[in-house]
Amino acid sequence: MKNKLTQFLLLYLLIYSSSSMATGPRVSPNMFVDNANQMHAVELTPFLDSNIRNRGLLTELIETVLKLEKIKGDINILPSLNMVTYYFVQENALAIIGGDFNLGKKAKNKSIFIPILTVDEFYYYYQENAEKTLSWNGNLGSFNNKKMGVQKGINVKKYKQAGINISYGRLAALLKKMKSHKVDFIRGNKRTVETSIEQYLPKEKSLFKQMQPKAGKLVLGISFNKKHPEGIDAAKSFKIGLRKIMANGQFKSILQNHLGSDVKLESYIKYLN
């Protein structure tokens, strides 16, 4: 017994010696690339995610177009929407990638947004027992006095006007807050929400409920910066390249590689003109 305790203590000391606690520089690709042509993206699994193949579906589509049209640009996936918009507005990044950037009027006028994919969004709630349900009828008034979980940086004006209380957080934290009843509902697209539930709360998967009708749509794409010296030309070239990969089947092939061979292309481009 004493022997086992000694072995355990030795193992513990080996693993948790003070020196094993050290930290160092955060080694990310943007450390080694030129600042001039940075494109900042907000993380949105499985579309923009540093931890999956080719950093996600949208990243791969964009990088394919950049390569085809020889547009210089390095994609940097960031954890916060606020950081992404800061780089666009304050530091004239070449482009930003994602969906709802919530840019001010002035910044919007300086941007050229090119839509690439669209996804339907739904409201989700956590149902621990069958009696406690939450419903909505297509009118935000259904959620009056309820608490909605929202990522920082998203425009919440219409929710506040409908008498909805707001709790800020990242998706993983919001899912946990839904479980502990600190948040009543969230809005998100099926792929992102279900992937995150699977990752963070797989045992509770069946308790997260999607509400009907759908909440709206999220258009994912790239916003080029007119204030960047190469912004306007890059946007023009990108549009051409995007049309090329849609015509030659590369777009569909990348989509299928990420979302499965049975994925319907039409549902992801149905709102694009």
């Binding site: 020196s19 050290a22 930290t23 160092g24």
Partner: protein, 254 residues
């Protein structure tokens, strides 16, 4: 010394990274000393616990001290207050190489075995795609020992941390190690107040004001200089601090 505004102690988690944060240094190192002085001025009681980086990142409800980029992957913060900046560099041991090492781009890195600390690599897949591979170690001493023995060619480390480690390990041959600064490596060290911290917004306002006072009266500069060999602060120190202050200023987005 002002009386404390809040009876409860604001608990922070930090990761051992001398001389910035260290359980074994007076006042817990350079940033520990800054936090201590800020706390006194703000009338806020603070305490630091030292834990491994991964544990701090996984705990999404605690207040953290360090580079926000690590912690924002999982956590949410009411306020992020940058208090210092750092730069990183590739270090090499000159006797192990016939000529000076030059790094201009990704391609230059492909030929080298690069040592980094475990848990600090982001976007591993991107590096692999570029043909760049890293060897991880659990602590700085181990990295620099491997570097001297020729088991790795380059050690990517925070400049000040590298200086301190080399001084401890190889005091007599320090000049045999050379550093190549990584251009885009300027990063902040910040105080991060969690969403779960009671009175977080009020505490943040008080700490920000305290930091401004410390800078105005010169005490802040004295602390930084003390740990940087009493040399003057780099000319861009405060502009970079301001830059990170704006980048991480999420309070106005709510």
């Amino acid at each position: 010394m002002p009386f404390s505004c809040f009876s409860e102690v604001v608990e922070f988690g930090a990761n051992e990274s001398p001389p910035f944060w260290s359980e074994n240094m007076p006042a817990y190192g350079m940033c520990g000393e800054i936090l201590q002085e800020m706390s006194i001025l703000a009338g806020v009681q603070t305490n630091i616990s030292f834990k491994p980086l991964n544990r701090l990142i996984e705990d999404t409800e605690n207040n953290d001290l360090g580079n926000p980029a690590f912690y924002l992957e999982e956590g949410d913060f009411v306020s992020i207050i940058p208090i210092a900046i750092y730069r990183s560099a590739f270090h090499y041991y000159k006797p192990n190489h016939k000529s000076e090492i030059v790094i201009r781009n990704w391609d230059d890195l492909k030929q080298y075995r690069i040592g980094i600390l475990k848990g600090t690599l982001i976007d591993r897949l991107v590096f692999e795609k570029q043909g760049i591979h890293f060897e991880t170690s659990y602590n700085q001493k181990s990295i620099f020992k491997k570097l001297k023995l020729g088991r790795i060619d380059l050690a990517l480390e925070i400049r000040l941390v590298a200086q301190q480690t080399l001084h401890t390990l190889y005091r007599n041959i320090e000049e045999n190690f050379s550093g190549i600064e990584v251009v885009n490596s300027i990063s902040p060290i910040a105080i991060m107040l969690s969403e779960e911290q009671p009175n977080a917004k009020i505490i943040a306002i008080k700490l920000r004001k305290a930091l401004s006072t410390l800078i105005e009266n010169g005490e802040y500069q004295s602390i930084i200089k003390k740990y940087n060999g009493h040399v003057d602060l780099p000319t861009d120190w405060f502009s970079e601090l301001e830059h990170f202050n704006n980048l991480y200023n999420f309070e106005n987005s709510e």
